[in-house]
């Protein structure tokens, strides 16, 4: 019979490290149905057998308050044939046993893996594994997951389980006479409710009922027509309040800790004082979370993060760019000129290539983020910045998604949105994901460089600075607005662990990076390919009538006759060609759309040329500059060398610095590019993703129109 196992444990117990050690690269990441909690599954091949391993989300308890706890609990209740391997941090056994005891009470087949035995030893903690196993009456295995030690032992214990005959370990904690009796009575009562015992073990349900677990209260009260259980709970509450000034729930939790303390006192010996054991982490924290050196170091980390990403990312990005450029050239040569060529080169290769070009950037960014997270530094950043972010209804852990998305110019909202997974609380996560794309991502920068260069000359750098600040202000204020309207409500408790600093394993960091890159590549191959084609079609169809085309051909003819033999011929021919491109673009769906909405967009000072560029910018913000070039009949403008376009803009009488500012406000804030929209949908659902598209565009247009109108009034009055 094939055994499957589920890995469970507290956050920071080394659970994922063990999962990686067991499954290697034979794993995949998905989501639990209907929720955005990551579900990792993999195969463990040992002694010629293949075991299915599921990595449950890290939790401190099974109270089902947080999404992670609920997911872990439901998984265990629904997959009774899995053996649970609970990973505990040997250096922190007492706390980690709190979860283990809850698994024991749930009656699941359980193996305890006491992890980081090496660290425990060097910190002077001696654990008597055999004694622990006999006290708890379940198998206990010492492991060092980082080095892959303990796998064989886990397998040996696993083989001893006969799942088909497993009937629970019969483990019970005494909660004191009063509560114990009540549990027995309730258990009898619950045994009569088939809807409850189909899903939950009856004794466990009885305990949870007394702990006032919301889910259990609901299902039991629903089955309990006479309200008997409810009355019993109320009576018990009155009694315990009178006798001990406590609710049953508190007594139960205290007794659990009491039981665990008893076990730990017998099985664990400390050879060093607590202060000595944590010297290292405390010393590092004294600097890294210090009120002055802490923020300085953090700023340095951000700086390095960006420098390194672009320094290392540019090289492989260049390779990819040349590769797609080369592929485009080859196709241009092989496929005859016409629609098919245009579709393959401009639609598919440029579209997908543009997206895949980001892969190195994303990989490097996640490499460093995983490193910071595994090292324990991410929790410190959240700790130091929580006060700031909380003011805007966010969470300390919102900092990473913000910074990556463009808190420092040059980020990218796609990995930013993905990085918001470290946020455990849903409300703060939605607010973070929806507002992060308002920041200054790398793709917006060329637009600003063009406009600032054209209209602000020497003050361009200053203008860029204020735009970055504007992005921050917009993101934080919109977050505040969201959190006080659509996703309002108390902030989720912040309370969390500051894990000891640890050197991350290369394997763990690499696996994590690969996972993220893989998800991104998959998206580029499917959804993004489809949208690239749609946008290409919008900018290509309908085509000009033959009559129109021949008109431009005629112009070209005239030009070649007129300038024959002169040096100007090529330039003049190109000019004529660009006029054709401009006419083609204006005639396309995107062009017509751009023209049709002019009456509205004029409020913000945008004419049809700008509108088309903005529509194209929905594919990727980089496209704005090149499309603007085509619309100004300059042919495709290379975003890195926009001088010609810049001159055109300066000379356009309808385009002055007020239009430029209005356009910059709009570009900074309007709908995220569709790659970001897809990423957002994956994280928090299509409803929110579409909401982001609409609300950001409305916000952007409102602000730029308000600015444009006010500024014009100022000039004309």
């Amino acid at each position: 019979m094939s055994i499957s196992l589920a890995l469970a444990g507290n956050p920071n117990s080394g659970k994922t490290t063990l999962f990686n050690a067991l499954t290697g690269a034979r794993q995949h990441v998905g989501n639990y149905p209907g929720v955005t909690v990551e579900k990792r599954e993999g195969n463990w091949v040992i002694n010629g057998k293949t075991l299915k391993v599921t990595d449950l989300p890290g939790t401190y308890s099974l109270t089902a308050y947080s999404l992670e706890e609920k997911v872990a609990r439901d998984y265990l209740l629904e997959n009774r044939s899995s053996v649970v391997v609970d990973i505990l941090d040997a250096t922190n056994l007492e706390r980690h046993l709190f979860l283990a005891v809850q698994f024991m009470e749930l009656g699941v087949p359980l193996i305890l893996a006491v992890n980081m035995m090496d660290e425990a030893e060097s910190s002077g903690i001696e654990i008597d594994i055999k004694l622990l196993a006999s006290l708890l009456n379940i198998p206990v295995v010492p492991t060092i997951a980082r080095e892959g030690k303990g796998k064989k032992e886990i397998f040996e214990e696993l083989e001893k389980f006969d799942i088909s005959t497993f009937k629970g370990s019969g483990f019970e904690i005494s909660y004191g006479e009063l509560i114990d009796e009540e549990i027995l009575e309730l258990e009898k009562l619950i045994n009569g409710f088939s809807s409850v015992i189909q899903k939950y073990p009856s004794r466990w349900a009885a305990i949870k009922y007394l702990e006032e677990d919301p889910e259990i209260l609901k299902i039991v009260d629903k089955a309990d027509f006479k309200g008997e259980a409810k009355k019993r709970l109320e009576d018990l509450k009155n009694k315990t309040r009178n006798l001990f000034d406590m609710d049953p729930e508190t007594i139960i939790s205290d007794k659990r800790y009491g039981y665990i303390s008893g076990i730990v006192r017998q099985a664990v010996r400390y050879k060093k004082e607590s202060a000595d054991r944590h010297k290292m982490t405390d010393k590092i924290d004294a600097v890294l979370t210090h009120s002055i050196t802490g923020p300085v170091f953090m700023a340095l980390v951000f700086y390095i993060l960006f420098k390194a990403t672009f320094a290392f990312g540019e090289i492989p990005m260049g390779w990819l760019e040349s590769f797609f450029g080369f592929t485009g050239d080859v196709v241009t040569k092989i496929v005859p000129e016409g629609l098919l060529q245009s579709l393959i080169v401009s639609g598919i290769i440029d579209g997908v290539g543009g997206v895949l070009g980001f892969v190195p950037l994303i990989a490097i960014m996640f490499f460093m983020i995983s490193f910071l997270e595994d090292a324990g530094y991410m929790a410190r950043m959240a700790y130091m910045l929580d006060r700031v972010f909380r003011t805007f209804g966010l969470h300390g852990a919102s900092v990473m998604p913000f910074i990556i998305s463009g808190g420092i110019p040059g980020g990218c909202a796609v990995p930013g949105v993905m990085a918001a997974r470290t946020l455990k609380s849903r409300k703060e996560r939605i607010a973070t994901i929806l507002t992060a794309p308002l920041l200054m991502c790398g793709a917006k920068v060329p637009v600003f460089v063009l406009l600032c260069g054209a209209f602000f000359g020497e003050k361009a750098a200053m203008a860029m600075f204020w735009l970055t600040m504007g992005g921050w202000a917009a993101a934080l204020l919109s977050a505040k607005l969201l959190r006080s309207t659509l996703i309002k409500g108390e902030s989720t408790p912040f309370i969390m662990e500051l894990p000891p600093y640890r050197m991350p394993t290369l394997k763990g960091v690499l696996l994590h990076t690969w996972e993220r890159a893989k998800q991104y590549i998959k998206k580029a191959g499917t959804f993004i390919l489809a949208i690239s084609i749609v946008i290409w079609a919008m900018m290509t169809f309908p085509q000009l009538s033959d009559q129109e085309v021949s008109k431009y051909e005629q112009i070209k003819q005239n030009v070649s006759v007129e300038y024959e033999g002169t040096q100007e011929l090529d330039a003049k021919l190109l000019e004529a060609d660009n006029l054709l491109r401009q006419a083609e673009l204006k005639n396309s769906i995107a062009g017509r759309l751009g023209t049709a909405i002019t009456p509205v967009t004029e409020l913000a000072g945008f004419d049809w040329k700008t509108n088309i560029a903005l529509i194209g910018g929905f594919a990727a913000k980089e496209v704005i500059v090149s499309t603007l070039g085509t619309a100004y009949s300059l042919g495709e403008t290379d975003p890195d060398a926009p001088e010609a376009l810049s001159d055109k803009l300066i000379n356009d009488p309808d385009f002055d610095y007020i239009t430029a500012i209005s356009l910059m406000i709009f570009v900074l804030l309007y709908a995220p590019c569709f790659v970001t929209v897809v990423a957002t949908a994956k994280e928090i659902g299509w409803k929110w993703a579409m909401f982001g598209v609409i609300s950001n565009t409305v916000l952007a247009f409102g602000l730029s129109a308000a600015f444009y109108q006010t500024a014009r009034l100022g000039i004309f009055s």
Binding site: S61, Y65, D285, T289, D386, R387, R390, P493, M496
Partner: protein, 81 residues
Amino acid sequence: MVLVCLRQMEKNSHGTIKKINGSREMERRIRDLGLFPGVKFKVEGRAPLKDPVALRLDNCKITLRNNEADNIMVEPEGGES
């Protein structure tokens, strides 16, 4: 025995948790992270903006916001170590 609120504890002072108030969810969260009556701790420090607060427990470090610390009543220990 004089109980004080955790928020009022100075940096580097020691204490023992005596009582946890607050909403059920808040209390449960606090307990789940190992802060329950009888646990001894040291106030390790506060974030640069004075909130949240970091506590050193016997085997781990926990951080919580001041408004969460308001729910925790503590018996302070005299003297520094």
